[in-house]
């Protein structure tokens, strides 16, 4: 098991002001760029868009996991955005609004970590109560603690 705390710090959790998919992705990309000096936002946006075109990363159950592997990322990074109101245009697989957006950006060579991280995040958020707790949180520190807390024990 990977410790999610390794990839997520509390300053990478944001309570989204966005109301659309594009705005939500934009906000999280800013977080990723802020903590990865080597990556420029334009290429990150291009890669994220390319992946969204293939299939929406709104995987259902109020959750979206946009993800990308690209040059310029130092090591795998997570950014989490929470929207209490929900983002209706995310084109989620279950056609419901998305409330939790977890963006994962990994370096080109981090194939294994990348896949394991995706699997683990999906696995952790299968729990409906946990998702609800995150959506109802009023500050990023709480979200961070919910996501990484169980891993630290």
């Amino acid at each position: 098991m990977l410790a999610l705390a390794e990839f997520l710090t509390s300053d990478r959790v944001v309570l989204l002001s966005a109301t659309t998919k594009a705005e939500a992705l934009e906000e999280l990309m800013d977080v990723i760029v802020a903590c990865n000096g080597g990556v420029d936002k334009e290429s990150l946006a291009r890669e994220i868009a390319k992946r969204e075109e293939m299939m929406s990363t709104g995987i259902g159950n109020k959750l979206a996991i946009p993800h990308v592997r690209m040059e310029g990322i130092g090591r795998a990074t997570m950014a989490v955005g929470v929207s209490q109101a929900g983002i209706p245009d995310y084109e989620s697989l279950d056609k419901q609004p998305v409330h939790i957006v977890i963006m994962i950006a990994a370096a080109k060579g981090e194939h294994e970590t990348y896949i394991r991280l995706l699997a683990q995040v999906a696995e952790a958020l299968k729990d409906a109560d946990l998702r609800e707790e995150i959506i109802q949180a009023t500050d990023p520190a709480t979200v961070h603690r919910i996501l990484t807390g169980p891993q630290d024990k």
Binding site: M54, M55, I59, I115, R116, L118, A122, K126
Partner: protein
Amino acid sequence: MTMLAAIIGGGFHLDILPVIGGALLFGTLGARLFQKIRFPQVVGYIIVGLVIGRSGLGLIDTATLDALEPFNFFALGIIGFMIGGELHRDVFRKYGKQFVTILFAEGIGAFVVVSVVTTGVLLLVTGDIAASAAVGIVLGAICSATAPAATVEVLREYKTRGVLTTAVYAIVALDDGLALILYGISTSIAAMMLSSAGDNGGIAAALGVAAYKLFVAIILGVLAGVALNAILRRGRDREKALTYIIGSLALVIGLCALLKVDEILAPMALGVVIINLAPRRSYSAFGIVERFAPPIYVLFFVLAGAHVRVTGMGLWMCALAAAYVVGRSLGKMLGANLSARVTKSPAVVRKYLGLCLFSQGGVAIGLALAATKRFSGVSVAQMPVGTMIMMIIMLTTLVVELLGPPCVKLAVQKAGEVGLNVTEDDLMESYTVADMMDASAATFAESAPLATILRTISDTDAMSYSVVDNDDNLAGVISLADLKQSFSAEGLTAWLVAFDLMRPAVATIDSGAPLAEAVTRMNEQGLECLPVLAGEHDPRLVGMIELRAVSRQLSQEILRRHQLADDGST
């Protein structure tokens, strides 16, 4: 050009090492030229030898050639050894009677026809029937030997396998013995006919000498074979094995020269003993020598060409040589054909064996040399008999060494035995990646969902799959090992796509590249397979090449060809 002439004119002669180096390099280059015009390489070696040798530019002098003489014996010994390795007891069991009958028939056929026609030509020149017949039967005896070297080299070059190939190996190996016996008898009769040549004890003594030479050579080879087998049984070190084999061969060949017995028969007996005492282990022993041998063969043939000196031949000498070549070829073909009929040998042996027996070399020249000594002081048509025989043998050796190899090639082609004795390496050289790739290998679009990928994988048995973008260009690869990680979370199958799972391809190969290059690349990089691209400037994916599939297909093809060869022989 003038400088070269000045150098040559000034008596410039190359030393031994540059001779060896030059002979190897230019010989091989010359052979490539001949290969381009579809001639066996051995013809190229000999012609390069002729050009740089005594009949050509004279870059190699007699002293150098004499100094390299032991090397020629060594090369012949290696050739004898390799032929011995072809004579497994199964060959004797299966074809023994047929081959021995054919061997006698082709040898005696050539002996009779050459004796008659050369006697006829000489009779026209001299009018002396006794003298003409004396020289005629000596030439007839000498001509019966078939030189294995050039013949075997052609079989090797064209990777032949089958009953004709086996027959050629057996006969070129063994008819030296017959030639020695015929020579013993003929020279004794000839000496009596040319009464002034002095009698050395008559036919009985001559036969005794021939028998001694054969017997001692065979005993020597057998003893060395038993000893070498005992040594090889202990060690498994390939390099040491090579050293032991080469050491034994050099020793045996040297002893043959010392005892004045046949230098090919002894190493051949050595090879026969090794292959029959321990067939399995021996295949690797012969394989080791086979890889070591090519430069030795090249040097041997280039030197053979360099050795030839044909000058100042009168018209009648040319006629005599022509009669010899035509008579010998007809005699061998006739003898082989008739005896193959009588023994009910396979059709390919009957039709084509004669064509494979034209080559003449070391044994004939050795016997001619012996005849020169034996008949010194006797002249026919104002020419010393020894000189006459030597010149005829030199000239005809040159002619048949140039004509013989293409005939062997023709024969094995007609018999359908070319390319049947292949190894994986040979096959790999002959195929391109396109020949062996799987053009219908399953590929995935970048957007293919994991669920689809898993379904496809369960329906196919590849180790790795290519992912292509919208333009059909290679985007990456997905291997089974990579997928294992995605099995851990069942939820992933709904929303991961090929794009998420693929890795960049470590290496690719163009469809036109040689198969060997693809295999080397996979082995070096530890890959199971390679995506195949359309071309150097065309990155479209056209298929996948897989190491497992390549080696399976190559094994099948080798099996198919070997079966084809072996079926043809029943």
